[in-house]
């Protein structure tokens, strides 16, 4: 019973969603929206569970004085600080705590966004190191990859305006549109069919690992 009920619920939900896709009539056309509302409500409660998990982990770190417990202290302090700022902003701006001019907006604008941008900017260095390893012409495949990459890069960003770079531009467009797109679509078809088979396995209860 412990397994049968979740499996039955999964089956009924899956079938209801499929039916609602083909029947735009009441009540079927409302099934997806209703389930989406339920999902949002459950996610809201799950977020509380997530916050509890995070804070508990770091409080234990601080209590045990584990290595790097100072970081846990910073995390917990900032959590409490931003939470208070959020409440104050919500009171000041009648629930719209992220309104421009609010304290929370200030925290978001001057702390969260720059921190995210910093992490994102690291990508430039990581791309360089990954490309260096990937493009080392040790094997035939790697050599072909290197040639294709150099041609596409020069074609996309021509150094000078002459016939050779114009040709490279046209060649890189062809390369991206035909061979690259063919490979990409092959992978996409595989992904679509894989998702379809996986969904059927879940709806029919063949795949049960996620229910353990």
């Amino acid at each position: 019973m412990k397994r049968q009920i979740p499996l039955l619920l999964t089956f009924l939900t899956g079938v209801a969603i499929i039916i609602s896709f083909f029947i735009p009539h009441k009540p079927f056309n409302q099934v997806q929206d209703t389930l989406l509302d339920w999902f949002i409500i459950i996610s809201g409660f799950a977020l509380l569970l997530g916050i509890y998990s995070l804070l508990r982990k770091h409080i234990i770190h601080i209590q045990k004085k584990d290595a790097g417990w100072g970081y846990s202290l910073i995390l917990n302090s900032f959590f409490v600080g931003v939470f208070i700022v959020g409440i104050i902003s919500a009171v000041q701006f009648k629930g719209m705590s992220l309104t421009p001019g609010s304290s929370l907006y200030y925290v978001y604008d001057y702390m969260v966004i720059p921190l995210s941008a910093t992490m994102f900017s690291l990508l430039a260095f990581f791309i360089a190191s990954a490309a260096y390893r990937a493009f080392r012409a040790r094997k035939l495949n790697a050599t072909l990859l290197l040639i294709a990459a150099v041609v596409v890069m020069l074609g996309r960003v021509p150094i000078v305006d002459n016939a050779f770079f114009k040709f490279l531009g046209q060649f890189s467009d062809w390369f991206m549109l035909i061979p690259q797109m063919a490979a990409k679509r092959g992978i996409l078809i595989g992904i679509a069919l894989g998702s379809f088979a996986m969904s059927l396995r879940i709806i029919l209860g063949i795949e049960r690992t996620y229910l353990q």
């Binding site: 083909f22 997530g50 998990s53 992490m119 379809f196 396995r201 690992t209």
Partner: protein
């Protein structure tokens, strides 16, 4: 009947008829999707039925064969295993596929008595993952080794999550890292950090744009459908393997349709007979709805 404005100016009767819209019981524009679902679904059922009690062949997937090697290497080095399910939600099929792989990886870590660390982006994924790992440890005969606190929530900010996972990689220095699920721009940041600590890395995602980054930085990469096949591949269950065969039959059908479309397109382009019309109708049928 004539319409009248406030100024008593009458309009001329028009030929426009009145109409009333009403909900349809079937979306006719989606009949193509229904036909393909029935066709591909039939392949699925036929092969699942045929597979019962049989040993089916499935090509080797290096990334999945390396799971045991990766966990074993971690154990020998006395380092933990890091499992990252990406920044997808529980409603993403790739995240569900990731959780099925997690079950198999956790069973191995339980058998080898190796610690598994799993930071999460979505609290719902965290709850599901905790239950899966707990069950895997029970099945692996080590329920006491399961530590719920190692499967924890981090943040729902994309780069905050990347920073958090990078921090864990640098501090814990895991021997093996699994990146399985939905990834976006943070994929390379995570994979390169993992590479810098010398971990054996097995990645898998259904995001085509992130695959090159994983291929460049990781030791093994599950490309799209391989990730969805992972659970069947690792379990070797005949019924699950049958579903993969059904998937292959669907793929063959698509290849045939592409070839038919290409021939019709070429002949139509050369203005030979009615092929141009046929090609138009053929492609139109697939793009409707």
């Amino acid at each position: 009947m004539k319409a009248q404005t406030k100024e008593k100016i009458e309009s001329e009767a028009s030929n426009v008829a009145t109409a009333k819209s009403f909900s349809q019981w079937f979306h006719k524009g989606r009949i193509n999707i229904l036909v393909l679902i029935i066709l591909f679904g039939s392949f699925f059922f036929i092969y699942v039925r045929m597979a019962k009690g049989k040993k089916l062949f499935i090509r080797k997937i290096a990334g999945l064969d390396a799971v045991e090697e990766a966990v074993g290497r971690s154990t020998e080095m006395g380092k933990p295993v890091l499992y990252c399910p990406g920044i997808g939600y529980l409603s993403d099929i790739a995240t569900i596929a990731s959780l099925t792989i997690l079950g198999k990886v956790a069973k191995k870590t339980a058998e080898y008595e190796t610690r598994i660390i799993m930071p999460n982006y979505d609290p719902l994924v965290m709850s599901a993952a905790q239950e899966i790992v707990k069950q895997s440890y029970t099945e692996g005969g080590r329920p006491d080794s399961f530590n719920e606190k190692d499967i924890f929530y981090l943040t729902q900010d994309q780069f905050g999550f990347a920073a958090g996972v990078d921090g864990i990689i640098m501090r814990e220095k895991p021997g093996a890292i699994f990146f399985q699920g939905v990834f976006f721009a943070e994929s390379l940041i995570l994979a390169e950090t993992g590479h810098s600590v010398g971990a054996i890395q097995i990645a898998g995602t259904d995001r085509v744009t992130q695959l090159p980054f994983f291929i460049a930085s990781c030791d093994y990469t599950l490309i799209g459908e391989e990730m969805f096949a992972a659970s069947s591949y690792l379990s070797r269950d005949p019924i699950m393997m049958g579903s993969i065969k059904g998937e292959d039959a669907s793929k063959l059908t698509i290849v045939i349709l592409i070839i038919v479309g290409a021939i019709l397109g070429i002949l139509g382009g050369l203005n030979i007979g009615p092929f141009g019309n046929w090609f138009y109708n053929f492609t139109n049928w697939f793009t409707r709805g």
